[in-house]
């Protein structure tokens, strides 16, 4: 059997090359591949295209890779929490493609499902539709969007087994399952790594066929952006 388990984040990302196209799971800072991001800071790989719903904050998540100028282009739906991002965008150092969130999710899903293009109503009549094929189905206008695929997909799961099967927790699932399907090489970091056979097949969200490398992450910070509480 192919051994998918790698020792740590460094071993998992070490062959990611300059100018690679990456997908990174997560919504805000929830469910992001923290260990892989830290390891990329150390390998110093440059010119990355990062497909990720958000771009982290100044001192966490993808924000760390922006600070070290390792990112050339971001493909995201919302990037508003990051001052360094804003500075690089305005100075032209960073290229940004903004995509409606549902379109982003579906483009990634399509990439992992072998569907090169599809039609969605999101963005019809707006600047998002510029240059795109428009078609009418049953009286409503839709625009054609293409799949997204990546050289490497970096995802974060709660539990995984040595065969690469993954289970996510809470809203940390978000973009991770689709991104896991759309990478030429998919790297999963998990909080708990168990031997094959220990996870209940009924509970698996991402089948191991999509995962090429898996490792047990460590030192998860799981930073919270908006700490809101009910006071009693």
């Amino acid at each position: 059997m192919i051994n998918k388990v790698v020792k740590d984040a460094h071993d998992a990302v070490n062959d990611i090359h300059d100018n690679a196209i990456l997908m990174l799971g997560g919504f805000g800072l929830c469910g992001i591949p923290e260990n892989c991001i830290s390891a990329l800071l150390k390998t110093g790989v440059k010119g990355l295209t990062c497909i990720s719903n958000n771009a982290g904050v100044d001192d966490f998540g993808i924000g760390l890779l922006l600070k070290t100028r390792q990112v050339r282009k971001m493909i995201s739906s919302y990037v508003g929490e990051n001052a360094e991002f804003e500075r690089q965008l305005l100075s032209g150092e960073l290229e940004v493609e903004l995509i409606p969130q549902g379109t982003l999710a579906e483009r990634v899903r399509a990439g992992g499902a072998g569907i090169p293009a599809f039609f969605t109503p999101a963005g019809y009549g707006t600047e998002v539709a510029e240059g795109k094929e428009i078609r009418e189905f049953e009286g409503k206008k839709y625009l054609m969007e293409h799949w997204l695929r990546a050289d490497f997909s970096l995802v974060k799961a709660w539990k995984g087994d040595t065969s690469g099967n993954l289970i996510f927790k809470g809203t940390a699932r978000n973009f991770n399952p689709m991104m896991a399907t759309a990478g030429t090489i998919t790297i999963a970091e998990v909080e708990e790594l168990v031997p094959t056979g220990e996870l209940d097949p009924n509970q698996i969200h991402t089948p191991g066929i999509f995962v090429h490398r898996i490792f047990k992450g460590s030192g998860y910070e799981k930073r919270i952006e908006q700490r809101t509480v009910t006071r009693i």
Partner: protein, 219 residues
């Protein structure tokens, strides 16, 4: 003039038992606090949850459980979790009954602009374009005029659009209005202490006023 809470209270009156609802960031989020007791609705969060519960207590906080505004939350009994693709699948296929969101401008044709001000930092549209393109019913919570008094209920939006011909109803700090398919705002209710004349002056788009316009009932 209504404050944010007033707008949220009035919108809460549009909610019906059994609805699946997506609440945008800001005033729309406040609506959850004023849904009448005994009414059962399910709140959708586009990052992958049906059944948003109240904010957690300190010891319930879970960093793996947030809403689309990245706030820590809890789940209601019967909640369900899913991916972003499935989440927008339910939005696009019209399963979500009601979408409540904020706007910078709305046109008399129901166009909405709420994501971009040219020349200022562009943060992105998030899920707003997907929501407005597919929702069965959209209610907008907004200020009727800008700080310098310019109307935000326009003939044509001046800002880049989020979606076309999609807004059905507006609750502003001055009025409740329907957006008619032929292209007009129909005045339904006045905010407490606001006259029809004031609303006329504050509305640039075509305004239809028929009969006596009642004052809103908030409580």
């Amino acid at each position: 003039m209504l404050d944010k809470v007033g707008i949220a209270k009035r919108i809460a009156k549009e909610v019906r038992d059994g609805m699946y609802i997506n609440l945008g960031i800001g005033i729309p989020t406040l609506v959850a606090n004023y849904i009448p007791g005994g009414m059962h609705v399910v709140l959708q969060s586009e990052n992958g949850l049906l059944g948003i519960g109240p904010f957690p207590t300190e010891d319930q906080i879970d960093p793996d459980l947030i809403n689309a505004g990245k706030q820590t939350i809890t789940m209601m009994p019967g909640a369900a979790l899913f991916s972003s693709a499935e989440s927008f699948g339910m939005i696009r296929s019209g399963k979500v009954d009601l979408t409540i969101l904020g706007a910078m401008e709305v046109s008399e044709r129901g166009d909405i602009a709420n994501w971009k001000i040219p020349g200022k930092m562009v943060k992105g549209m998030g899920g707003a374009m997907d929501l407005v393109a597919s929702a069965k019913n959209i209610i907008v919570a907004m200020q009727h005029c800008s700080k310098d008094g310019a109307s935000k209920l326009l003939k044509k939006c001046s800002l880049p659009l989020t979606g076309m011909n999609c807004v059905k109803k507006i609750v502003s700090d001055m009025a409740v209005l329907n957006v008619l398919p032929e292209g007009a705002f129909q005045l339904l209710e006045r905010a407490p202490g606001i006259s029809v004349e004031q609303i006329k002056n504050a509305t640039e788009g075509k305004l239809i006023i028929e009969g006596e316009i009642p004052e809103m009932i908030l409580n």
